[in-house]
């Protein structure tokens, strides 16, 4: 499965075999990361995700494969998990 080409796939490796509760938790955790980049994620019927920025621009994404590329486009910059300010923000909780 390809992080960039996730749209080709029916089930992303990181989301396979996960139920509704896991999906809710995933969205909550993703939002703790995405808020750092001015983005917010919502779940749409348990099938797709809705990503939006503070100006109201939105993107529909199917899974984690498509999410990061869409987030990069909306944020206008790469979303690097090694970014020390993100790491510090997550650590502070």
């Amino acid at each position: 499965m390809c992080a960039l080409c996730g749209v080709l796939l029916t089930s992303h490796w990181a989301e396979r075999d996960s139920g509704r509760r896991e999906r809710v938790f995933r969205v909550r955790l993703l939002n703790r990361v995405l808020v750092h980049f001015g983005l917010e994620l919502g779940d749409w019927g348990g099938r797709v995700y809705l990503l939006r920025d503070r100006k109201g621009k939105t993107a529909v994404v199917e899974d984690l494969g498509g999410l990061w590329a869409a987030a990069e486009r909306l944020a206008g910059r790469p979303l690097d998990p090694l970014d020390p300010t993100l790491v510090e923000a997550l650590r502070r909780g």
Binding site: A3, L4, A14, F25, L30, D80, L82, G93
Partner: protein, 321 residues
């Protein structure tokens, strides 16, 4: 769903002994039901096998990411093999061996096996072998980015022509290979004589035998390191972290391989090549007493400390579950 057929890759620089190895392997009775896909016909002496030729045609996808290209030639050939087998036009086969050219990048082949809609339902990646010539290997590694990539992606490194190489040269080459890909198994083979069961066993992802120096890397600009994690990580947090890392830094994370403790009875096997990640497999049990997660990263311009701290922060964020 029917069992997926493994597709093993034999990569390696031109003249490094790929064809000799393949010919010897295919002479073994236990590899009788094997379909073979090669670039050059006439070199592999195997009349009785299913032998096909491809042209290494790649389809560059819109995002322009090289590791995520699809090898259209390979997909066509695998689909054709399947349909002809179903129609009874060719004998049944239980595995496929693909011999690539010396310049081929293995990542698009793995991506094709995992992403092409028809192919991924019937086939799965098997072992990735890279042959390295003991006489010329060091020089080829210095000059050829393709050779380095093949070594980094391999599950098994097959050092060939050790019978004609100076022993000190062989030792230096093997040190360099271990520095480049500490997660790979290293085998010495002369005249292509090797045990198919050993060579073609699926890579189990377990880097427990990793011999890795924490000092300066000897792999040029590549920096392999291994993370050992003392406690279980949250799988959801890990999935978020790794997909984000591969999106942002996939071109520099050439390889991720290891066993991950996610709190279950056995570990999860991780195996990724740049942006291409095999579906993680949950094992029933750990292979030994050591229950720590161990993940080998082969990366460029990325330090172990930053990866460690970032993963720990993502995992800590999951504690509020």
């Amino acid at each position: 769903m029917a069992e997926r057929l493994p597709v093993a890759l034999v990569t390696g620089f031109l003249g490094s002994g790929k064809t000799t190895l393949l010919s010897r392997l295919l002479g073994r009775p236990e590899l009788g039901e094997t379909a073979v896909i090669v670039n050059e016909l006439g070199e592999v002496a195997i009349d009785h096998h299913l032998l096909r030729r491809v042209d290494e045609r790649t389809i560059l996808l819109a995002n322009g990411c090289l590791c995520c290209t699809l090898r259209g030639d390979l997909a066509d050939e695998l689909r054709d093999l399947l349909s002809r087998r179903t129609r009874g036009e060719i004998p049944a086969f239980r595995r496929v061996l693909v011999e690539t050219t010396g310049l081929a990048d293995p990542a698009p082949i793995l991506n094709t096996l995992l992403a092409e809609p028809v192919v991924r339902h019937h086939f799965e990646p098997g072992a990735v072998l890279a042959t390295v010539d003991a006489v010329n290997g060091l020089g080829q590694l210095e000059r050829g980015a393709e050779t380095v990539k093949q070594v980094v992606v391999a599950d098994r490194l097959v050092v060939t022509k050790t019978d004609v190489a100076d022993r000190a040269e062989v030792v230096r080459l093997e040190e360099r290979l271990r520095a480049l890909n500490p997660a790979a198994e290293l085998l010495e083979v002369s005249f292509g004589e090797a045990e198919p069961a050993v060579l073609l066993a699926p890579g189990d992802g377990d880097p427990r035998d990793v011999r890795i120096s924490e000092g300066p890397a000897h792999g040029g600009d590549l920096h392999p390191f291994v993370l050992f994690l003392e406690r279980a990580v949250d799988w959801t947090a890990f999935g978020i972290w790794l997909t984000m890392l591969l999106q942002a830094r996939g071109n520099d994370v050439l390889r991720v391989k290891g066993l991950l403790d996610v709190g279950g009875r056995g570990p999860v096997v991780l195996n990724g090549v740049q942006h291409v990640v095999s579906p993680p497999e949950h094992l029933e049990a750990w292979p030994d007493e050591d229950r720590r997660s161990r993940i080998v990263f082969i990366a460029r311009g990325i330090e172990k400390r930053e990866v460690e701290e970032s993963l720990a922060a993502f995992d800590a964020a999951s504690l509020a579950r």
